[in-house]
Amino acid sequence: MLRFALVGSLVTGAALGAFAIRAVSRVGSNQGYSPRQPIEFSHRLHAGESQIPCLYCHYAATRSPHAGIPAASVCMNCHGLLTTQTAEIQKLKESVLQQRPIRWVKVHNLPDLVHFDHGQHVRASVACQACHGPVEHMVRVQQRMPLTMGWCLSCHEARGVGERGQRTDCVRCHY
C-alpha cells in the first residue's frame, strides 16, 4: 500500500513536471491575441478575396525595420474611388476629414528588447504568413505564432541562417 502511494506520487510528480515545463516554455507568448480594432477592417476581404498584395499597404516592409501600418491616405487611394459605403468605411473617411489618425491596436507586439527588421526578412523572401499566419483568411487579425525567442531561433535553425556561430549571436537582435 505504501508502495502504491510512492509510485502514484512519482507518476503524478512526473506529469506535473512535464506540464510545468510546457507551461514555462510558453511564458511571454501572446499567442491567440486578437483585439478588437477601431475599424472592423477585414484582411480576408482585402488580402484574401480582393487579392491586394500585403506590400501595397505595408509598403515600408521592404525598406524599413517597421512594416508600417498604412496611412488613411493609402486606404483612400481605393476608397476615394469606390462607391461602397459602410459604417466602417465612414469611420475611415471621418478620420481623413478631421485629419485625426486612427488608433489601431497592435496585434503582434514584440517586447522592446528585441530588434526585428521587417525589411531584412522580406528581402530574404520570408513570406509574411511565416510570422503573421494566414492573415488573408482572418477577418480580425490574430497572433497565430508564439513569437517567442525559441520560435525565432527554430526558424533560423531550420533555414540555416548564417553559420552556426552567427545564428546565436545575441546582439543580432538584442541591443
Binding site: S25, V27, T148, M149, G150, L153
Partner: protein, 467 residues
C-alpha cells in the same frame, strides 16, 4: 537472585564494555528519564525573562533588516555604497561570513561523528541548527544583491521560451547556487534525522492532544525497534560521510568566486583550504558564543560542560592557526610571486585607506586567539565569550578586506575609488543577525536542543564506565 544475575551479567558486560570515557562528558550520573525531563523542559515550560529579552532584541534587529531590504529592492541597489569599481562589498562579505558560520555545525555533527567523538553529542543538535540558520542568512545575500532579484530564478537551468537558453556552467556563481542548495538540503535532512527518535520520545511523553499529533507526525511512527536503530545508525554514518566532503566543497566553491577571478588579491590558489579553515574557525567562534549563553540561560551546564568548551576552544585554536598560516603564505606569495599588481594590493591592504580593517582582522584572528593556549582561558566561559565574539568580528573583516581592498585598487588607477557603506547596508547586516538569532531562539523553545537519545546512550555508557 543476585548470584545468577552476576553470573549471567558478567560475560555480557565483557562483550559490550565500551571504551572508558574520560573525561566525563556529563556531570554526575543521570537517570534516563531525568535526561529527557531536562531536555524537554524548555519545550513546555514558560520561557524565562532572559529568553524574552533576547527574542525582543533579535526581532527588533530582524525588523530593521526587513525594512532595509524592502527599501533597497523597491529603490535599487544604488541605496548601497557600491560604485563603478567596487561591485561587491557588504553583501558578499555577509554571504561568505554566514556560510562560514554554518560550517562548524556540519563539522561537529558529521566529521566528529565519523571520528566517534562522544563530546559532540551534547552540542551537535544546536550546532546543526546553527548551520541551517546560518545558511539561510547566507543565501539571503546573493538574492538581494542582484540588480533584479525577482529574476533570481534565471540562475537555474530550466526549460524556457528563449530557445531554451540555459545558464553559464563556467560561472562560480552558478556553482554557488548548486553548492548552497545542496548544503542546505543535506543539512536539513541530517538535522531532521537526528531528531526522529527525540520526536518519538516527545510524542510518548505528551498527553493526548495537538502536541501529541504534531510530534506523532514528525516522528514518522518511530518505535525504537532494534531493526530500525541499526539501519538508522548506518544511514546516519552514510549521511555523515556525504556531508563531510560536502562541507569542504561548499566553502571551496565559495572561495572560487574569488580564486577564479582575474583580480589581484582574489586570484589565489590557496583560497579553498584557506576559506574552509576560516569557516570552521568562525563557526566554532559562533558555536561557543551560542552555547556559552544557552547553557547559562537554559540551565544546561550539566550537559554542556566546561570540558566541551575546552575541546571547542582547542579546535578554534587549531583552525585559527591555520588561518594565520594562510595569511602568512598569502603575503609570502604576494612577495615571492613577484607580480607588481599583487604586491601592490597587499601593501595597500596593510597601509592603504582600509588599513584599519586589515589590522582589526589581524588582531582578532591572529593575536587574540593566542590566549587559548592557556587552559584557564579555555575553561572559563567569561573569558571565552569575548574571544568568540572577537573572532567573529575578525572573520567578518577578513572577508571585507579581501573583497573591498582588492576591488578599490585594481589594475587601472583611473578607476580607483573609495567605498563607504550606507545605513541601508549596515541595517541589512544587523537584520541578518536578527534573523539568525530569532531562528535560534525559537529553535531552543520548539525543538529538543540536545540529542536526547544520544545523551541517554552516553549517560548509560558513562554509568557503566564508572561501575
Amino acid at each position: 537472585m543476585p548470584g545468577t544475575a552476576r553470573r549471567t551479567l558478567t560475560p555480557a558486560v565483557e562483550c559490550a564494555r565500551p571504551v572508558p570515557l574520560r573525561p566525563a562528558w556529563l556531570e554526575g550520573s543521570l537517570a534516563l528519564r531525568q535526561i529527557s525531563d531536562d531536555i524537554a523542559l524548555p519545550l513546555s515550560a514558560r520561557p524565562g525573562a532572559g529568553w524574552f529579552v533576547c527574542i525582543a532584541v533579535s526581532l527588533t534587529a530582524l525588523a530593521v533588516g526587513v525594512a532595509c531590504v524592502t527599501y533597497q529592492i523597491a529603490t535599487g541597489i544604488g541605496t548601497w555604497g557600491l560604485n563603478k569599481s567596487v561591485g561587491w562589498a557588504f553583501d558578499i562579505t555577509n554571504f561568505v561570513f554566514w556560510i562560514g558560520i554554518g560550517h562548524a555545525g556540519t563539522l561537529i555533527s558529521a566529521i566528529l561523528l565519523l571520528f566517534r567523538q562522544h563530546w559532540r553529542m551534547s552540542i551537535n543538535r544546536s550546532a546543526e541548527a546553527m548551520t541551517i540558520f546560518a545558511v539561510l542568512c547566507a543565501a539571503l545575500f546573493p538574492l538581494i544583491h542582484m540588480g533584479r532579484p525577482w529574476l533570481a530564478f534565471w540562475m537555474m537551468p530550466y526549460p524556457n521560451s528563449r530557445g531554451p537558453l540555459w545558464v553559464n556552467f563556467r560561472s562560480p556563481l552558478v556553482w554557488d547556487v548548486f553548492a548552497i542548495n545542496t548544503y542546505l538540503i543535506v543539512s536539513l535532512v541530517f538535522w531532521y534525522f537526528g531528531m526522529l527518535p527525540d520526536f518519538a520520545t516527545l510524542r510518548d511523553r505528551a498527553g493526548a492532544g495537538g502536541k501529541k499529533r504534531i510530534y506523532g507526525l514528525l516522528s514518522l511512527g518511530w518505535d525504537g525497534s532494534q531493526r530500525t536503530w541499526s539501519r538508522y545508525e548506518t544511514a546516519c554514518l552514510l549521511l555523515a560521510g556525504l556531508a563531510t566532503p560536502l562541507v569542504i566543497s561548499v566553502h571551496s566553491i565559495v572561495s572560487m568566486d574569488f580564486a577564479t577571478s582575474i583580480l589581484p588579491g582574489w586570484h589565489a590558489t590557496i583560497f579553498p583550504p584557506y576559506f574552509v579553515a576560516g569557516a570552521v574557525y568562525s563557526g566554532f567562534g559562533m558555536v561557543m558564543l551560542l552555547l556559552i549563553i544557552t547553557r547559562r540561560v537554559m540551565h544546561l551546564q550539566r550537559y554542556i560542560t566546561l570540558a566541551h568548551l575546552d575541546r571547542m576552544a582547542k579546535i578554534t585554536l587549531l583552525t585559527g592557526s591555520l588561518v594565520a598560516f594562510s595569511y602568512a603564505s598569502e603575503w609570502f606569495m604576494a612577495w615571492y610571486g613577484g607580480n607588481a599588481d599583487e604586491r601592490f594590493v597587499f601593501v595597500n591592504r596593510a597601509t592603504g585607506r582600509y588599513a584599519w580593517a586589515f589590522w582589526t582582522m589581524v588582531a582578532c584572528n591572529v593575536v587574540i586567539p593566542q590566549c587559548l593556549w592557556l587552559r584557564r582561558v579555555r575553561t572559563s566561559p567569561a573569558a571565552l565569550l569575548p574571544i568568540a565574539i572577537l573572532i567573529n568580528v575578525g572573520m567578518w573583516f577578513e572577508r571585507f578586506v579581501i573583497i573591498v581592498t582588492s576591488l578599490h585598487r585594481s589594475y587601472l588607477p583611473s578607476s580607483w575609488v573609495m567605498y563607504y557603506p550606507t545605513s541601508i547596508e549596515i541595517g541589512t547586516l544587523v537584520g541578518s543577525f536578527g534573523l539568525f538569532f530569532t531562528c535560534f531562539l525559537l529553535f531552543i523553545r520548539l525543538l529538543p536542543m540536545i540529542a536526547t537519545w544520544e545523551i541517554k546512550g552516553l549517560a548509560a555508557a558513562q554509568a557503566r564506565g564508572r561501575s
